[in-house]
Symmetry: C2
Subunit: 704 residues, 2 copies
Amino acid sequence: MATPTPTPAPTSPACTPAALAFGGRGGFLLARARVGPGAGGRWVVRAQPAAAELVERSVNTIRFLAVDAVEKAKSGHPGLPMGCAPLGHVLFDEFLRFNPANHAWFDRDRLVLSAGHGCMLHYALLHLAGYQGVTIDDLKAFRQWGSRTPGHPENFETDGVEVTTGPLGQGFANAVGLALAEKHLAARFNKPDLTVVDHYTYVILGDGCQMEGVANEAASLAGHWGLGKLIAFYDDNHISIDGSTAIAFTEDHTIWVQNGNTGYDDIRAAIKEAKEVKDKPTLIKVTTTIGYGSPNKASTHSVHGSALGSKEVEATRKNLSWAHEPFHVPDEVKRHWAHHLEEGASLEAEWNAKFAEYEKKYHQEAVELNSIISGKLPAGWEDALPKYTPESPADATRNLSQQCLNALAKVIPGFLGGSADLASSNMTLLKMFGDFQKDTPEERNIRFGVREHAMGAICNGIAVHSPGLIPYCSTFFVFADYMRAPIRLSALSESGVIFVMTHDSIGLGEDGPTHQPVEQLFSLRAMPGILILRPADGTETSAAYRIAVINRKRPSILALSRQKLPQLEGTSVEGVAKGGYVISDNSSGNKPDLILISTGSELEIAEKAADQLRKEGKSVRVVSLVCWELFEEQSEEYKESVLPSDVTSRISIEAGVTMGWEKYIGQKGKAVGIDRFGSSAPAGKIYKELGLTVENLIATVKSL
Amino acid sequence: MATPTPTPAPTSPACTPAALAFGGRGGFLLARARVGPGAGGRWVVRAQPAAAELVERSVNTIRFLAVDAVEKAKSGHPGLPMGCAPLGHVLFDEFLRFNPANHAWFDRDRLVLSAGHGCMLHYALLHLAGYQGVTIDDLKAFRQWGSRTPGHPENFETDGVEVTTGPLGQGFANAVGLALAEKHLAARFNKPDLTVVDHYTYVILGDGCQMEGVANEAASLAGHWGLGKLIAFYDDNHISIDGSTAIAFTEDHTIWVQNGNTGYDDIRAAIKEAKEVKDKPTLIKVTTTIGYGSPNKASTHSVHGSALGSKEVEATRKNLSWAHEPFHVPDEVKRHWAHHLEEGASLEAEWNAKFAEYEKKYHQEAVELNSIISGKLPAGWEDALPKYTPESPADATRNLSQQCLNALAKVIPGFLGGSADLASSNMTLLKMFGDFQKDTPEERNIRFGVREHAMGAICNGIAVHSPGLIPYCSTFFVFADYMRAPIRLSALSESGVIFVMTHDSIGLGEDGPTHQPVEQLFSLRAMPGILILRPADGTETSAAYRIAVINRKRPSILALSRQKLPQLEGTSVEGVAKGGYVISDNSSGNKPDLILISTGSELEIAEKAADQLRKEGKSVRVVSLVCWELFEEQSEEYKESVLPSDVTSRISIEAGVTMGWEKYIGQKGKAVGIDRFGSSAPAGKIYKELGLTVENLIATVKSL
């Protein structure tokens, strides 16, 4: 059998991270416990683990699939898969509930690899478990163009990968979102006689994840919410324990697997104990050797992110007595893992039978849950969206947004969300629901505290839990900067989160430049895979929400005003769906003298200027370019009908930087905007001083 | 005297934040200690505090200056200043060492209001202390256009304000940077007989700051580095103590001022004790009543961010026996605070005398320290920058960057920095220096761990500590997303940090789309007040560092390649200084058939395509647009000489989104770029598949 050489003791890192702490008043579980020798005696050993020899062969199969794939790609991270293979085997083979034939089975356990660079661990496990999306050829194509095994886990590429990870800390926060979704749905739908929502969320994280602020934020919330079915494994492979910190953080329920390399029974017992803890998340520290088995590179930095090299691969094969060719899966390992196909099918069948009964007994609930599971929106949901006319009272789009949010939550069962401690400013409260909290998880208002970064990442997790969960989250637009990474990941991973960003310009006034977005619109318009919508009034706000809900694979950012705006003539739901459209025009033959293009709160200014210019005899068209991405998707004919290329007199007005407007105004046009930071003063005064006025717009027209 | 009405007990918030924990192996101090009744007995009472009655009048003066200013502005945050006025008075009047006549005195104590919304507290204190930049008229112009008293503290507007705060958590991390700078300079320059660097850094934070991940990251580093002269006050005004958390976090040196409303002696004693702790930062929890003195609004949410309203202002005046008109400063309060002018002058004079002696005894050190204090760069520093020729070997710009960093650190005394755990990938190590650590603070390589957000904010703090400190920080370009808020604040607050961003495109290869920036260039070009430089080879990299160092009020982002690039003919230091310039041309009369415009790693492709097209008889110009911001600042004549408006055949090539390029290619031009997320594959393969090749560029030319 395998006889690993002794590996060097873990060394001290340059930076000792503060341990990750789950927050909450019910106590917490922490990474760095001091569990004395013999504490392992508490563990209950699993009744029927696979024979020890078979387990070790399976574990080595996982190790070498990773080693060989990285070696073939000449790039990748062998260290984590080699070190975490024992944990991976035990968790996936003995605990995880899944159906390889249907990766989307609703009630599966979720597994997130937050330390995404170790993805070969996950691919190897998915392959062994029988996922058809990860064949041996896929493993051989690791990190190659067009493969289903990219360099970091991507949910949109690989069946069985729940979220897209790699940027550190995100996966952990996603897992908090997944666990939140489970707790919420379980509270809403389970009945005393029928439990239809019941799964765990597991997440594996490294020291890098722990150092990231987003993980601290998310851990605080996980503890506060009492997410008892969230089990996090900290792959402790080279960070030494800070004595005093460990002492300060000792708690009864902390779990430390001291020998994550060969202590299979300890791993089993730790997971069992964690599953028994129902009222709080658990963090299991698993001490492993990075690159376990490599005689010369284990426990070194070089094994983290580089191929071992052919010589060391051979040495590792010898060391672990693995005399097989690359990518070999021994028959007995294959035979062992094969049971998951049958077991998975039977798990799902059992659940299907239970759900069939549920549908009979609890028809209304089943309809709602089905909508969440399938992502099919209830018929007629769009009719619930509020309608406005030019006669409707002037209002801030953030207020109009609240009317939309409340209307949608009434008709869409999976609609839920909240704000980063600004609900009363963002106007995001759902009035018919209470707060999602530890003891009221069936409610739909999520209070994220001042934790924008975790908020975004948690919403990404909620969104990928079930196709019909539509999370929204909210803060001041300028603080999109705090959550840019999860916004990007929402776009990349097709999570469809709705980002409600209020106070979207200098129009917020006195709080000054730290709170006034000027470059955020463009900085986000530059991002692929996301819609940026900046509605101008009630009709456009309602239409923007319609777009956001329809786009389930593409997140939306709604940029909304703090200040009151009039309801405009000419705005329309159909127009918003096309991204850009004519809202007023006194020209004929598609040849106006001038086109004014605007978005959001400045559309009013464009309209007023147009009115005045028309009185002076000019033919003027006003275009609302509410969503550039949708406009770009329209036909050339449509675009030409809105912005005829012959008309080069074009002026844009928007309360933000002008960079990028050249696309629509051309080199002969002019852009009225703000190419500087804002200022602290009443909103009207700033608009005036920075030239966002009817007068300045008309003066700019005359300067053309 | 004042007889405040009893205020309601603090209520539980929706979210209980995990307490802020200072990291580090030397133990830490924490926010939420359980200090039993009577623990106050440990405090040593200050020998000669101002008479109790006078202190109370001063405190009420501060309260009402804040109340009146917010009332006049009809906007602002009265709650924190009313609650923290006692702390503010004691700290500023009795402990802080400063010279009101010279806010830039080098060895002053630094005070940061991380809870920036409470800025009227700081403005009132600066006014009382005699800062000429904050007159009573300035207080009356609070939050008005052009005033020196904006809605959040802005270092570039108000003398005495050290950093720009408001976005929560940033100020705390800035303070860690200020304290790091002090510890570093003290270790480098103090002599056994002459202490020329010796000041404290104080920071006031609220619960919002504590919840933010950036504060967790920064606290972890502050503890790790043993920043003993960092003293943080947590304004505990409405967060109740989580019993179990408090128990778990109890430590010997934690300080809790239980009565921050009237316990002046406790406040004094707490600060004294904190100052005695030399080996670790201290967090003092000061329990206060938000809006203290307001009979109907104290301890309520409404007093946080809104004016009290005239009726409640009157009730508060009555409650606190403050019968004065708005903005009144009683004569005895004025007289008391007046001593700071004299005291400050004498503190600085004393220091000046000491420094004069230092200059005599330690000439070389004094020259270096003077450069750091004044910001005057040593003569001839530019000569140290490496020079390259077309014959120099091909290399990745991240490697060339390391040569520049090392060259600059040799000649610029205040040059220091590091990476977020990627030093060996970012190539940022200064080879002649060791690591800045708790016991080696004189060294200049800062190890930030995987904490991008805090890294940026800490560097902002270092930069504003002294004009001659030039911090740089580094991570993969895509993770600029994690630190976008501090990048923005660096630009807004004129901090001049150098952001070294490597792996700047799909050229990083197999790690895939989560690690490949595509929109980051534009998203940052949209930001005001910052330079984005994307050099193409050694000459441009060296020139980019020259620009970055010269621009002391404007931060720079250097986007650098992971992959090897050839040294190009035609690149030049002078050209880079203009932001855009011609690197090759075979046309005459400023009328090429075609202009190819590019940046960074794609400039090589443009050059190769131009060569081929020239062989086919075309006249082709290649332009390096290495820094758009600098190019925009050039004269119209210069810009016309590079991009003549008559030449409309223009093609850009850049490995990023094409949005924004319309500005330079016009509506008839074409942009070759990447309007999607990247992919996991070897770099060359991705370049080919996404069309960033000579062949595709030539095909695009022919399609024009």
